[in-house]
Symmetry: C2
Subunit: 301 residues, 2 copies
């Protein structure tokens, strides 16, 4: 009984939103580049798998049912996310001749850069951007050595050989699963509560871990679990293993969805700046300036 097969192939979802947009299976099939019977069968299979009527079929065309609209809306979100991912992948792939090379720390590369680059691509389709991903320190190193035009870092400690522009403030948040005892708390957590609780953390060297250790300099408790990626940490938290401290950029979505709960904490400043950096004295090119402007206006969160 492979877990809900309908959720694993995007073809039918593409078809469904296309039908919603054009009111016809035949037309949708044409758009997606498959034959009409194939499209018909895919959507029928989707309906069968979901046990929901998605389309109102008629010889004059097909329209979405109420359920169909809801599903199509979600499908649209899924596809948009995939599209974003496509963009991120595209920019990480070494391009033949990028007009602009930028380096970004993990958090920025994961959560911010794709949106910036997508905007840039929409307004300036001619500019090819290459993206390199490393930690905040190495980003600055690359900038200083002139290997990249622009860097994005999430640290407060800037190399004197770079100029910088502050873009926004990131914030770390304490998160737990909705079933965790802390989720029901009404009082804020104290700094000492946090320091004495074993947490799920990233490995040493990660920007998030370093920030956490710096803030909690009063000897933090031994980690409950050390994991190699933010995704892994989030997974463990959702599974109810324990609490973690992560960037709001990483958990915002999950908190909004109610899959994670943020716990307020008193007496600690968990903010950190996100900045663009470039080599001191370096005159920024046209493309760089456009990207910088995009990033600065992008999300003044």
């Amino acid at each position: 009984m492979r877990t809900q097969r309908w959720a694993s192939d995007l073809g039918p979802l593409r078809l469904l939103v296309a039908v919603g947009e054009h009111g016809s299976i035949t037309e949708a099939a044409r758009l997606e580049g498959v034959s009409q019977p194939a499209a018909s069968k895919q959507i029928a299979a989707l309906e069968r798998a979901m046990s929901l009527p998605l389309l109102r079929r008629a010889p004059s065309g097909s329209t979405l049912t109420a359920e169909g609209e809801v599903v199509a809306s979600w499908a649209g979100r899924v596809l948009a996310t995939v599209e974003q991912m496509r963009g991120a992948v595209e920019s990480m792939r070494v391009h033949a001749d990028p007009d602009l090379v930028v380096a970004a720390s993990m958090t920025v590369a994961e959560h911010l850069a794709p949106a910036w680059l997508s905007t840039l691509r929409a307004t300036r389709p001619d500019v090819h951007v290459g993206l390199r991903v490393t930690n905040s320190h190495d980003v600055q190193e690359l900038v200083v050595r002139g290997e990249v035009d622009l860097g994005f870092v999430e640290t407060a400690t800037l190399d004197p050989r770079v100029e910088s522009r502050r873009l926004m403030r990131d914030r770390l948040a304490v998160v737990v699963a909705p079933t965790h005892a802390w989720a029901a708390r009404r009082r804020s957590l104290g700094a000492e509560d946090l320091a004495r609780t074993p947490l799920i953390v990233r490995e040493h060297g990660s920007g998030t871990r370093d920030t956490l250790d710096r803030v909690l300099r009063a000897n933090p408790a031994d980690p409950l679990l050390v994991l190699g990626s933010n995704e892994a940490v989030k997974g463990a938290v959702k599974a109810g293993v324990g609490a973690a401290v992560l960037s709001v950029l990483a958990v915002g979505e999950d908190v909004r969805r109610g899959q994670l709960v943020e716990v307020a904490v008193d007496g600690l400043d968990l903010h950190r700046p996100i900045s663009a950096v470039w080599r001191r004295g370096q005159r920024l090119g046209d493309a760089s300036r456009t990207l910088l402007r995009t990033a600065a206006s992008g999300s003044p969160a």
Copy 2:
């Protein structure tokens, strides 16, 4: 040249995040219920398709590369969205014996209800909720007739036979593609600008269309295009066909991603309330009250 085949099957993405979480292809394969060679091949295929090294393989296990982490992060988001969709589908499917039946108008069902129900499911896994989707008027009708326990509507005109609780304020926004002339505007739009511009709109009877017509009662211009779903409208806007007026709930994500641009408008109140309604005098059950509380605290946007 079927468009980028790697983006169409979620299996490999599932595998990738599982590897990130457990540091081993073998373990990930076990978790996903496939054989180890299958997993190995799927991920290898993914890397080939993306032209990116995602894993650092060793006889002691596998860890994500920097690129792998970025991709895994996006994959996580994609999968989370799919999971949400699964939840929405699950609640729309007629259940054997739902403990609680709610009705929601389109906007709520599309954008709010899944998050509420997901939260509810996390804290009260025993409660089965049935969800019916119709327009705001019919929702109230169902509530009055006692066919549903609770309703959610996005309209200001409430039936006198229901009690209600205001949950949040929705807002309509004028949106255009980033390439549209209005996207570069620095001055706000005037009400008369909007009234005289042909827009892409929903069909009559849709809550969004009705709200728009009510606000723009000074005879609005003939529609540029009439489409049957919010997704269709968004698609047309992104394609650069023209401007549209849609709920921020529907376009928020796209605006944040830079795929759509909101244009400020002066002299018009585009807000509308979102409320929970139930039959006057009806004593709410335990499950209803929990859901109501969840909805109220969910997103006080």
